[in-house]
Symmetry: C2
Subunit: 332 residues, 2 copies
């Protein structure tokens, strides 16, 4: 039986939600991954140490005994030096949402000039900045229009570690090589789909996410970066569950749920492209180096046996629901 | 009370469906319009005189006493001269679907070289060619990629009247002026929405159609053509009802239902842009001249009084459901 092992896989961009949804999805990330960067965009954003500590406790309650580190993030606002000092050891970074762009980001920031003091503090204190980089323009141009902001930030704060989250365009990939302190996460679904999959045949709400999937040449550039083991690129699923009634309705929420199938699917996809040797860096090595983190030792073993992605996990329809994959995780 | 009248409004691109859906939607077009060009893409395409006559009878049964002409179209296949001669007086044109692009178009044509004989016959017999002009490429490029085919057709058959149906791009508008025998229909929704409305916030299946709504500059070019009374541009709603369970689901059908609200909405929109004087040409005059048709005399009166678009017509959610419009039709 063909086996493949991954050492301490990490998901550097994850939505765990709250309440019943947290209970449902947290174990589905905690089983395959050794840790994940947890997004702070709850209905009430995680923007204080108190909220963060309560949220982290809820996550630990939900994952039970699994060996899994939830690396916490704060929702960006202007924080004082005292606030950042108090929370520094509890967070892996601060997540910046330009106002109104994605789920529960209405409280985001709309003018970068207003946030200079906090960015300066973060740079001094070595706290990474995680950014949902989209303008409020035409949906296909939003990431590209935001690249200028990334460039400004990278130049103005050269010691600040800046993560371009869930990049979706060739232009973003190219920007990576222009500024030393720019890094990126890439999702599973943006490696695989384009806008054609979302809206080229029937409209597919379960493939609808923000940033929206782009053109074939964009997907190809992302794929090239991931498959080649680009050292500034990390896997971040952006796995973002919504109950089915929020997806199959008249106004469908953005988010693709990939956490429980990400490792089998990435393994098959890297193998198919003859790049299996580079998956370990994409799934863990690069993140450890970029974030200077040491995850718990956790070996995930996959075997080359057909596995059908469930049609649903609870009330959530996953990516590739019902598809048969060539690899499965042991104990999946 | 401010009144506005339209003389014999025409919908030059309409989907009336079959069975219960036909019963529901046919009266909703027959009341405000004096006639419509009826699309032939039923589950079993209308591609013979027998099918056409049966379908026309079903339409007349559904519209009852309304003064309304359903101008019939045949679904393109290679027709013999005898077939076209037999059906000529029953049709306003033949509708060409490139294979696999839109609802029930799986039987469409994939190689234009194979259809030369029929196009030659149509040119000789003065039967217009109506075209769903999209390639099978990336969803946002499909119309643009097809423009070369329009140009080839226009050059190869200079006496053939060619209608570019439901155009959505600036490039298509510009092509209109390059070939004398090219004309176009424009929908209501493509005058009003862009891809941002479909997928820039929540995903909106009731705004999902083919061709998909494009960029703001495309919408602006369409608007300019319609508002200016461009003589080669006709209103064609492409009103395409689907039951709500086919729109709010995991794979949503393409089509926007606008027939019952098109006239009030167009009136308000032309008025808002100071172009009310040009609406008569867009809604009827241009079509009469291009197609050389004389519709029944039917005066539709609108009054400037608020009217709320219903949330549903039967099991169909219309465009702008629940929105209040400044104009209503008398007896609406």
């Amino acid at each position: 039986m063909t086996r493949f092992t991954l050492s301490s896989p990490l998901d550097m961009h994850l939505h765990l939600r709250e309440g019943d949804m947290l209970e449902l999805v947290a174990p589905l990330s905690a089983r395959p991954f050794a840790g994940a960067v947890v997004m702070p965009n709850l209905v009430e954003p995680v923007n204080s140490r108190d909220k963060l500590v309560r949220y982290r406790e809820a996550i630990y309650d939900a994952i039970g005994d699994e060996l899994f580190i939830p690396w916490m993030t704060l929702f960006f606002r202007n924080y004082s030096e005292a606030e950042l000092a108090e929370v520094k050891d509890d967070i892996i970074g601060v997540k910046l949402y330009p106002a109104g762009i994605t789920t529960n980001s209405e409280a985001g920031v709309s003018n970068l000039h207003d946030i200079e003091s906090t960015l300066t503090l973060m740079q001094e204190m070595h706290i990474p900045l995680l950014v949902h980089g989209e303008s409020s323009g035409f949906v296909l141009d939003r990431e590209k229009e935001f690249l200028e902001v990334y460039a400004q930030l990278a130049k103005a704060y050269p010691q600040l570690t800046i993560i371009m989250e869930h990049i979706t365009t060739r232009d973003a990939v190219e920007l990576l090589d222009q500024y030393e302190n720019l890094y990126a996460t890439i999702t599973l679904h943006h490696l695989l789909i384009t806008l054609n999959d979302v809206a080229g045949g029937l409209l597919a709400p379960h493939l609808f996410c923000k940033p929206i999937a782009k053109r074939p040449e964009d997907r190809d550039a992302l794929a090239q970066a991931a498959l080649s083991g680009h050292p500034k690129v990390m896997f971040g699923s952006d796995s973002a569950p919504h109950p089915v009634h929020k997806k199959e309705c008249s106004g469908c929420a953005a988010g693709v749920f990939t956490a429980p199938l990400a490792l089998p699917m990435l393994t098959g996809w890297f193998e198919q492209h003859g790049a299996l040797d580079n998956l370990q860096d994409f799934i863990s090595g690069n993140a450890q180096r970029i974030y200077k983190i040491t995850p718990p030792e956790k070996i995930i073993t996959l075997v080359k046996e057909p596995w059908q992605v469930p049609g649903k996990y609870g009330n959530v329809v996953p990516f590739a629901a019902g598809q048969e994959l060539p690899w499965r995780m042991i104990n999946q």
